[in-house]
């Protein structure tokens, strides 16, 4: 436990306020916040003014008192020279609050011979440099040392608990509620509080009371943390010259994969989520997260790095300059022996692992964006209800399919959904185009539908199903109406065509084909 020397300037707010206001040191003064006295100097105290009094009452007791406003910034600013004066004698100064400064006692007490002489030197130094009055206390731990400073005491090492035991419980000034409660329970001193079992205090009054109990027992507020600092497991590579070709990327991917795997293996870890960062010479940053069911092997890592660079360097939004920095960060690691099982329903069975190997193989041929697995989402249109995720990425449905989606078409859904929308023309009996009104009704019953120059008669239809989505967003809103039409067969053996048409921006397109 650190032995601390605490220098305390009594009633610092009023001292600072007096300095700022240019008052003489013997003029009575108080600092007032919210109409209550927070700090009073010695002259004011002599007149019976105490912190906590109302302003008017203080003025009543001492008519020529100077009432000064509270300003923590001013207090802190004016305390700076005091901290600087202490720093001339001791290193490692820490300003605890305006008016309280703590330094490790070991240095100055060794240098000046004893803790007492160090305390004297510090008080003199502060008085000479700033003219401020101060007291010094030395004890184990900040709480005990501060209380010692209030009393101008040097508490011998290891006796903080004995020093604190007879003190009033109200010395725990930060926790008025707890103090009030403890006093009502009959606990008047820090020693009585410290005599309670720590576990009981924590379980009954909460973690914060537990910290207060540690203070009252003369310990540091928090138990020493035994956390091991996290090891930096990332692997960084700065290619020179910058990578702008895929074959160079593949070469580097191999090296990095081996490097990262060796590093992880040295720590007994394996990676299940890998972040690949790349920066280009023009300052573009590319980040991609890969999640894998099985811990990554060296070749798994290098494959992913290669696909990633491949995708970036060949893709439509390729960076404007070569890649100058490449970093692999294992975002999620498991113990080298632990295998994460049960990602798929029915367990990590043999069929799934065979399929997974085949998909990784195909990704090697086509890139990561070549193989998708679908997820069913909530939504209205047949397209909105499906999202495709590249294999290996995390699958998260963007919306819940079980929520009500008014305007969603009933099953069955169209079995073919053209990737490119095909324009269609819907004509009524008089040859005019059928439209949809603002209230989602058809302007006329459809009679004929022409798709790609092929006109067929409508024998049945239903709709429109309205989809007025995201109207509350500035530019995200879409208003669409969907229409099912059944087109007449051309011969006895021919199939009837059933289409799902959608009208958006005054145009009909084929959204789906029921085949």
């Amino acid at each position: 436990m650190t032995r601390l020397l605490v220098l305390w300037c009594p009633q610092w707010p009023v001292v600072a306020a007096g300095m700022a206001a240019g008052l003489t040191v013997d003029a009575p003064a108080v600092v007032v916040a919210a109409n209550r006295v927070v700090s009073a100097n010695a002259q004011a105290r002599r007149e019976g003014v105490r912190p906590g009094l109302r302003r008017r009452e203080a003025q009543g007791r001492c008519p020529d008192i100077a009432v000064l406003p509270a300003d923590p910034d001013r207090d802190a600013r004016l305390f700076e020279p005091v901290a600087a004066a202490v720093e001339e004698l001791a290193v490692g100064v820490e300003v605890v609050a305006p008016g309280v400064v703590a330094v490790p006692a070991r240095g100055p007490s060794g240098y000046f011979g004893s803790e007492e002489s160090a305390a004297e030197r510090v008080i003199d130094q502060v008085a000479i440099r700033t003219g401020a009055e101060s007291q010094v206390g030395v004890a184990d731990g900040l709480f005990a040392a501060t209380l010692a400073a209030h009393r101008g005491l040097v508490i011998p090492a290891g006796e903080s608990a004995q020093f604190l035991a007879p003190l009033d419980i109200r010395e725990l000034t930060d926790r008025p509620d707890l103090v009030d409660l403890l006093r009502r329970l009959g606990i008047q001193t820090l020693g009585a509080f410290a005599a309670l079992s720590h576990n009981d205090v924590t379980s009954r009054f909460g973690a914060d009371a537990g910290y207060a109990h540690r203070l009252a027992s003369g310990l540091e507020q928090r138990p020493p943390s035994r956390r091991r600092p996290p090891v930096d497991l990332s692997v960084t590579h700065t290619p020179d010259p910058p990578i702008d070709r895929v074959d160079a990327a593949a070469f580097i991917a191999r090296t990095l994969g081996d490097q990262l795997h060796t590093l992880l293996a040295a720590h007994g870890l394996a990676c299940t989520r890998l972040a690949i960062h790349a920066s280009t010479a023009n300052g573009e940053d590319l980040i991609r997260l890969w999640r894998c069911a099985d811990p990554l092997t060296p070749s798994g890592i290098s494959d992913r790095v290669r696909w990633q660079l491949d995708g970036w360097l060949r893709g439509s939004d390729r960076p404007s300059a070569g890649i100058t920095l490449l970093r692999l960060e294992p975002e999620e690691t498991v113990d080298g022996h632990a295998l994460q099982l049960g990602l798929w329903q029915g367990g990590n069975d043999e069929q799934a692992s065979r399929a997974s190997r085949a998909m990784v193989h195909v990704q090697g041929l086509l890139g990561q964006e070549g193989v998708f697995t679908p997820t069913i989402n909530g939504g209205r249109g047949p397209n909105d209800q499906v999202s495709l995720t590249p294999w290996g990425d995390e699958q998260t449905p963007s919306s819940d399919p079980d929520l009500p989606w008014p305007g969603r078409l009933p099953a069955p859904s169209p079995a073919t959904i053209p990737a490119q929308r095909v324009p269609a023309t819907v004509i009524d009996r008089d040859g005019g185009e059928v439209g949809v009104t603002g209230r989602f009704t058809l302007t006329a019953p459809p009679d004929e539908v022409a798709v790609a120059g092929n006109t067929r008669r409508v024998i049945a239809w239903a709709g429109p199903w309205p989809a007025d989505e995201r109207w509350w967003e500035e530019d995200g809103g879409r208003r669409r109406a969907r229409l099912q039409v059944l087109l007449a067969e051309r011969s006895e053996v021919d199939n009837q065509d059933a289409l799902l048409l959608v009208r958006e921006n005054e145009k009909w397109t084929v959204e789906g084909v029921y085949d």
Binding site: P412, A415, A419, E489
Partner: protein
């Protein structure tokens, strides 16, 4: 001794090869197949209906088989899910590009069912891929005409019901499926089915609810 025996006609009783050799199809569709289901290593061509493709795949898919669909960016995944396919065991390769042969070959190694858009594959390549499927024990389903397919399923007389003039919605899709093929499947068959969204096919017409004899015989052995 067997040199002079006349070649045995290739006859397999339905169900004789059931088990791992045949992947299940819906029992109403099983009559279309001489083997009672999708024979591993076989190539089947489906033409004219994506709904029929889903109906074929759904039973095996829901029982744990993995399915890959290559070169079909227009696939209605939601309809597939409604038809009973387990979409979490489906892999989509919508744009295989020039690597389509290598992609299909790789998928045949790992998947039970591989559906391929046939229009981009030449005859020679098609035969190679069929051979690969036979070798690996996967089922290759060509969507479109495929040279050397064991069984070709086409859809005709598709009729929809449920839709009125301004009311209702599409519910039932009645189709006539025509099957013709080679070998055991050489005899053309045709059958009418109702492909639907929620339950894939018509329930069988006959279903034995209980056997009148059992209760009595069990009580008095």
């Amino acid at each position: 001794m067997s040199a002079h025996s006349s070649p045995q006609p290739f006859r397999v009783e339905p169900g004789a090869l059931a088990g791992p050799r045949v992947l299940p199809v819906h029992r109403d569709l099983s009559g279309l197949f001489p083997w009672g289901g999708l024979r591993r290593g076989g190539t089947i061509s489906v033409q004219g209906s994506s709904g029929l493709l889903f109906a074929l795949l759904s039973e095996a898919s829901s029982q744990g088989s993995w399915t890959a669909v290559v070169g079909m960016p227009n696939l209605g995944v939601l309809a597939a899910s409604e038809a009973g396919m387990a979409v979490q065991r489906v892999a989509l390769i919508p744009q295989p590009g020039a690597e389509i042969a290598a992609v299909v070959a790789a998928l045949l190694d790992g998947f039970d069912l591989v559906a391929v858009a046939a229009n981009r594959i030449g005859e020679q390549l098609a035969r190679k891929l069929s051979a690969r499927a036979r070798n690996r024990g996967a089922v290759l389903i060509a969507v479109g005409p495929w040279p050397g397919a064991e069984l070709e399923l086409t859809v005709a007389r598709g009729r929809w019901s449920g839709l009125g003039t301004g009311h209702g919605h599409l519910t039932d899709h009645r189709v006539e499926v025509r099957a013709r093929g080679r070998g055991a499947a050489a005899r053309p068959r045709r059958a009418a089915f109702t492909l639907r969204g929620e339950t894939p096919l018509t329930p069988p017409v006959f279903e034995h609810m209980f056997d009148t004899n059992t209760a009595a015989t069990r009580r008095n052995p």
